[in-house]
């Protein structure tokens, strides 16, 4: 047990360092995905016909194995973190775009009519009325995207040392130290649970206007193991 946190030197980080690296490689793609998804979703809300093809494209992208992404990207971005984070960013879209679109569309018709009647222009209405009311749905989408991103970072070990906690799996094998594999799995799971709880906290802070007890549960169905 005292060798549990004894990380082989080829990983160039101690355990804490690996956790930090893992979080960065998992969370930056979610943030990037959110920044991409917001304008895409807004377009889909305004141009209804655009939504089905966009959904289709995000689903197809999600279906491409990360290895295929790596093969293509490695020529441009090398064996870097970026090569890992780009596919992860693309994968979050399959959850985030529908979460935002459905959230924005679920704003009651009366609320929208009232906003228009009070003289809100389309942009102001989107930012000040539709997005805030869609917050619970967006956060629900973020939770799924974040948890799946945290588990997916590990595949970065395929391009050598870019899998953060995932690299421990590789080392467990080559050094024949099974406790490293346990460390990898348990730490990843703990991170996912912690970050998820944090997001729930953020949601509660952001939405004091929600009747308590009616937590957002939409888009959970999108959660798929990869």
């Amino acid at each position: 047990m005292n060798r549990f946190f004894d990380i082989p030197s080829d990983l160039q980080h101690d355990w804490i360092g690996l956790v930090g690296l893992h979080l960065r490689e998992a969370l930056l793609p979610v943030l990037g995905g959110l920044l991409l998804a917001l304008p895409i979703a807004q377009l889909c809300v305004r141009l209804r016909w655009l939504y089905p093809p966009v959904l289709w494209v995000t689903t197809v992208l999600y279906a491409i194995p990360s290895l295929a992404f790596f093969v293509v990207l490695i020529d441009y971005t090398g064996q870097t973190e970026l090569t890992v984070m780009i596919p992860l960013t693309v994968y979050t879209l399959v959850v985030l775009v529908p979460a935002i679109v459905d959230g924005v569309r679920s704003v009651p018709q009366e609320t929208l009519a009232a906003a228009t009647a009070m003289g809100f222009g389309p942009v102001r209405r989107y930012v000040q009325v539709q997005l805030p009311i869609a917050t619970p749905a967006i956060v629900a989408g973020l939770r799924v995207a974040t948890v799946s991103s945290i588990s997916l970072v590990s595949v970065g070990m395929l391009i050598g040392n870019q899998g953060a906690l995932g690299n421990l799996l590789h080392d467990a094998q080559i050094y024949n130290r099974p406790e490293l594999a346990w460390n990898s799995v348990l730490t990843t799971a703990a991170l996912a649970v912690l970050v998820d709880a944090l997001l729930v906290g953020v949601r509660v802070l952001l939405t004091p206007w929600m009747p308590s007890g009616s937590g957002a549960t939409r888009t959970r169905k999108e959660a798929t193991a990869r």
Binding site: P108, E110, T111, A113, T116, F120, I133, W209
Partner: protein
């Protein structure tokens, strides 16, 4: 200007004849400019029973709305909406009421025709400026669920660039005006009842003090008791603030109660009749309007006649401690006597023979039903009291609830005939201006 039916034409002349020269002069200055909106014009009545009509603020001029799918929602509609009065649009579902209302603030653009606001084509000003000068209230209030009550009400002032503090203090002022407790200010909409939310909706529409209020079935989602409260509140607010209100409903009783003018629309978006409610009830333009008004329009029309002129009898009233002599005198010519307490308030009816002089057994009196207030209530209330009373006589009381007289069904019927003869077209309330439904 197309108003169907002769009554409409006559009535339109009526509206214009009622302008005082002074009101007309003032009206030449823009009603929509902010400096003017604070001017306190003299208001007739003041007790909410008479409402003076000032002029036309919104003129809907031969407007047609054809939706992209070909539906003609409104067909060559022309309406002159009077200033500082409540104009009600009423009609069956799908007759184009909401469409008409939304064309006024350009949430829907007319396909043909023009809407003139205070003499100006509504398309000539920026659409959001136009909308901010018109409060808008809808069913279920349409509140912003993510904002507190004060912030909901402060929305339009904030859009107009007021500081947060000023907008919020204005919002608190309005909460009081619409009868909302100040403790609700920091709550969110989900923590309010439907009736309270509707009040917030009205307060929000009033926040920037717009001259015009557009209301689309605002009270139809609440129960009848709350609805009546909201209607009374609206009439009170209208008396205080003198807004130009366009009110959509499919409830003819609500239309008659609230409207200074009532426009009945028929399916296909055509105007069936445009008249004050008393006229509508006495002279429906055609079978459609008559049908829409329902079976008891005769009874409802009595709401427009005051009970003040009734010949009340005081002789058949005796106090609980009446002497045998007093009872005998009162009993002459009256089948029943009304017994009152020492304080003058009615206790109940009794046959004269059943009364014991000196101290009446109040337990054996017959119920007197619900009394009417002679100075305030209508002939409808008086008749209602008489019909409900087991003795067939109505009891009139004063403001403090003391019995001031009694009257039989027969005498009320006599008075109703007299009132109809005196005012065959328009209801005969006192004072200038459009007659308003009494309680």
């Amino acid at each position: 200007m197309r108003i169907s039916g002769l009554t409409g034409q006559a009535q339109r002349a009526g509206i214009e004849a009622r302008h005082t020269p002074a009101a007309r002069l003032k009206h030449n200055r823009s009603r929509l400019s902010p400096q003017q909106s604070e001017l306190g014009w003299s208001r007739a009545g003041g007790n909410g029973q008479t409402r003076r009509v000032f002029g036309v603020l919104i003129r809907i001029d031969s407007v047609t709305k054809r939706y992209p799918d070909g539906t003609v929602a409104v067909d060559r509609l022309s309406l002159e909406i009077p200033d500082r009065a409540i104009t009600v649009l009423v009609g069956p579902s799908g007759c184009g009421k909401t469409t008409t209302l939304r064309m006024i603030n350009r949430m829907v653009e007319p396909s043909e025709g023009t809407i003139w606001i205070d003499g100006q084509d509504s398309r000539r000003q920026p659409v959001n400026t136009l909308r901010r000068s018109m409060g808008y209230v809808i069913q279920n209030a349409g509140l912003f669920q993510h904002r507190t009550i004060v912030d909901n009400i402060a929305t339009v002032p904030r859009l107009l660039g007021w500081s947060k503090d000023r907008a919020r203090s204005r919002a608190r002022e309005l909460m009081e005006r619409v009868g909302l407790d100040a403790s609700l200010a920091r709550r969110y909409p989900y923590q309010l009842s439907g009736g309270q939310q509707q009040r917030v909706g009205v307060a929000r529409a009033l926040a920037a003090d717009p001259p015009v209020l557009l209301m689309d079935e605002p009270f139809s989602a609440v129960d009848p008791v709350v609805r009546k409260g909201l209607q009374d509140e609206l009439l009170r607010i209208q008396d205080e603030l003198g807004k130009t209100i366009v009110f959509v409903t499919h409830d003819i009783d609500e239309a008659v109660k609230l409207g200074t003018m009532v426009a009945v629309l028929r399916t296909g978006g055509r105007l069936a009749q445009y008249a004050p409610p008393a006229d509508l009830l006495s002279n429906p333009a055609d079978a459609f309007v008559e049908d829409f008004l329902g079976a008891d329009r005769g009874i409802r029309r009595l709401s427009f006649f005051s009970a003040a002129g009734l010949d009340l009898l005081t002789a058949p009233i005796v106090a609980v401690d009446a002497t045998a002599e007093q009872i005998a005198r009162a009993a002459q010519g009256a089948p029943y006597l009304l017994v009152t307490g020492i304080d003058g308030k009615p206790l109940g009816w009794s046959e004269p023979g059943a009364l014991t002089a000196g101290s009446v057994d109040t337990g054996r009196l017959l119920s007197y039903g619900r009394p009417f207030v002679a100075g305030e209530d209508s002939l409808r209330s008086a008749l209602d009291c008489a019909v409900l009373s087991p003795a067939g006589w109505a009891v009139a009381v004063d403001g403090e609830g003391r019995a001031t007289g009694v009257i039989s069904q027969t005498a009320i019927a006599e008075a109703i005939r007299g009132a109809h003869e005196a005012a065959p077209g328009v209801g005969g309330t006192t004072g200038a201006g459009e007659p308003k439904a009494l309680r």
